[in-house]
């Protein structure tokens, strides 16, 4: 059983660190919840399944001492990006890598079962079986996976000190940003109407910001600042759009595409679409992907007189 390998890895790491961050069962069978443990007897509460969705790396820059953390491939880009931006001391972090081919979106499962109460969840092959009051419902995992999983290249984390299980290769095609390119074909008015409708639901709870592993300003965010005064506290779509655009632009060349922002939104706003567009542009303009190589410098952190892939404007 994989969970035994994971527990063994955690037991091994535990004496070397102050805390290990993993997952345990949350309030119902569909929800996993982050679990901070520092005692060997707590290890048995750990779980591992495709519903372990949270990016646990997001906690690391704010923790003191030595930290062990369970990391999936997608999440491992956060560790790399932290290293680039010198937000962590790598020696203080013990990365317990887990191979992963796909996680499952709780929101998509809830939509598939019409938001009913879940009594039991089991996994069989490539299916998730969810027991609801009217009986068990079998759903193919691929149908309820977050969109990032469809093009995941990181089945094995980029960084790890211990790997629970064997390293595996990705079995997914490369991301070609098809969805973004399709969306860009819409007229400016259509895109504006789309975002006005989506942002209208925003309640400015800042879950997207606080769950973002790269939103490191946190308490100093311009969304709440009076000085500088970029946004007001009015609850209109202009202010909401302003916040989301700033969130996106602050992540240019830094967003590691974990899509936590979108996963956590209680209003189901597809905010990761904005970051995806910016990631696509960064790839085209600078040939750069965030969080892939610890020795890289994010393009917005540096300046070259002539960029290899950008044509100079005629003066």
């Amino acid at each position: 059983m994989f969970i035994e390998k994971l527990k063994e890895a955690v037991r091994k790491i535990l004496p070397e660190v102050d805390v290990v961050i993993g997952y345990r069962q949350g309030f119902d069978p569909l929800h996993a919840t982050p679990y901070f443990l520092d005692k060997p007897e707590q290890v048995d509460q750990l779980i591992w399944n495709p519903l372990c969705v949270q990016n646990l790396c997001s906690y690391i820059p704010f923790l003191k001492g030595k930290v062990g953390v369970i990391v999936k491939g997608c999440d491992s880009r956060a560790i790399v990006q932290y290293m680039q931006e010198k937000l962590i001391t790598r020696e203080n972090i013990k990365v317990i890598g887990v191979p992963c081919l796909r996680v499952i979106s709780v929101k998509k499962v809830m939509a598939a079962i019409n938001q009913q109460t879940v009594q039991e969840v089991t996994f069989e092959g490539d299916n998730i079986i969810v027991k609801i009051p009217e009986g068990p419902k079998t759903i193919p995992s691929a149908d309820v996976a977050p969109r990032k999983c469809a093009t995941c290249q990181l089945a094995t984390p980029l960084q790890y000190d211990v790997l629970a299980g064997e390293a595996i290769q990705s079995n997914k095609p490369q991301d070609t940003f098809e969805e973004t390119k399709e969306f860009e074909k819409l007229s400016l008015e259509e895109r504006r109407a789309y975002w006005e409708k989506e942002f209208d639901r925003c309640i400015r709870c800042y879950a997207c910001r606080n769950a973002c592993p790269m939103c490191i300003c946190q308490d100093k965010c311009i969304a709440e600042s009076r000085d500088p005064h970029w946004t007001s506290q009015r609850a209109n779509v202009t202010e909401k759009a302003m916040f989301h655009m700033i969130h996106g632009l602050h992540l240019a060349g830094r967003c590691i595409s974990c899509e936590e922002c979108e996963r956590v939104c209680p209003m189901d706003i597809p905010v990761a679409k904005i970051k995806k567009k910016i990631s696509m542009d960064l790839k085209e303009l600078f040939g750069y992907e965030a969080g892939m190589n610890p020795d890289d410098t994010p393009p917005m952190y540096t300046f070259k007189v002539e960029e290899a892939t950008i044509e100079e404007h005629e003066i």
């Binding site: 679990y35 997001s58 938001q115 400015r204 606080n210 189901d268």
Partner: protein, 347 residues
């Protein structure tokens, strides 16, 4: 006229259309996968099968509202002299909240003690509250994470509602609870409901038994939480996974804290009141830059403490949590307030 009524499901749009002629009617409407209270318009996709993602609190206590507009006027004869013009914003329209859940409606009862039942009632809250009629739909199934029966409430609790409705097969059973509710009930679309009363009662009992019970009793909980106030180890442990966002607070039907800011351009502007959340660092940030709640565990401790200790201590033991479960259901990290309370009881 009968004391109770029955309305076949197919007549529901007609009722809402009739009410829309006299009131601004807000009803739960499906927007993608999200249910939100929106101004009812004929043809809207009503969603009564589950509680709205966001409670209807914003209809009476808006996320952001202009309290008044101001304008500094310079005296053309003597530019050093300025006078101030204020324009109050106290026009409120008769409103109906249709299809709230019992927990949503009781949220307003929590607000009432703070904003109405004091010697300085809040004119904005009071204005909207008095003009609003609340028609509540009893729950016919628990929702993920909800626990209303553990906080002294229930899926058919009528406190805070003007008119109660219960889904029974082909229609809805209606029971007015207040004078405001009786006014609505006068509508001729209702049939006599007396034959359905017992059936409704049975439905209420059935659902009540299905609701999760994270703790058996609340007695002693306010005192217990106070005794843990200085125990930062307990709170750090309980809140380690919290990311200190405002989702729980803004989705909560009983959270009522606000911020006030002035937005001024040139000589004129407006004073805005907007929702605020004790989960935010800025909530307690003082002008000196000192922050008494520097850390997230202090902030979540406040949220739990306010609902289960400070508020009941101040208001005759009333728990300021209706158990709607939204803070659990939609928490990015699945923080569970009922679990924290249970842990505190056992600590």
């Amino acid at each position: 006229m009968a004391d109770t009524g029955f309305l076949p499901k197919e007549n529901l749009p007609a009722l809402l259309e009739a009410l829309s002629k006299k009131f601004a009617v807000f009803a739960p409407v499906l927007d993608g996968e999200v249910v939100l209270f929106k101004r009812f318009a004929p043809g809207a996709t009503l969603c009564l099968t589950r509680p709205a993602n966001l409670p209807p609190k914003g209809i009476i206590f808006p996320q952001s509202e202009t309290l008044f507009n101001f304008n500094f006027k310079k005296d053309p004869e003597d530019p050093k002299k300025t006078s101030l013009e204020l324009k109050e914003n106290l026009d409120f329209v008769p409103t109906i909240i249709f299809g709230s859940r019992p927990c949503d409606a009781q949220g307003f009862r929590i607000y009432d003690r703070v904003y109405l039942e004091t010697d300085t009632a809040d004119p904005y809250y009071k204005g909207r509250r008095e003009k609003t009629t609340i028609i509540t739909l009893a729950c016919n199934a628990p929702s993920p994470g909800c626990f209303c029966t553990s906080v002294g409430r229930g899926p058919a609790e009528s406190d805070g509602s003007d008119l109660m409705m219960t889904e029974l097969g082909k229609g809805y059973f209606f029971e007015p609870m207040t004078e405001k509710g009786k006014e609505i009930f006068k509508d001729s679309l209702f049939e006599d409901g007396s034959a359905y009363k017992e059936q409704a009662q049975k439905a209420h009992e059935r659902v009540s038994a299905l609701v999760k019970k994270p703790f058996a009793i609340l007695e002693g909980t306010p005192e217990k939480l106070l005794s843990l106030f200085e125990n930062s180890q307990f709170w750090e442990g309980e809140t380690a996974k919290c990311i200190s966002c405002g989702a729980c607070t803004y989705l909560c039907p009983t959270c009522y804290c606000f911020n006030i800011t002035d937005e001024q351009v040139g000589n004129s502007g407006e004073r805005i009141r907007s929702w605020d959340a004790c989960m935010f660092f800025h909530f307690t940030l003082e002008a000196s830059s000192h922050n008494p709640r520097q850390n997230k565990h202090q902030r979540l401790k406040n949220r739990v403490g306010h609902k289960f200790s400070y508020y009941p201590k101040k208001y005759q033991g009333v728990i300021a949590c209706c158990g709607c479960g939204r803070c659990i259901r939609y928490c990015p990290m699945s923080v569970d307030i009922s679990e924290i309370v249970a842990h505190a009881q056992g600590a």
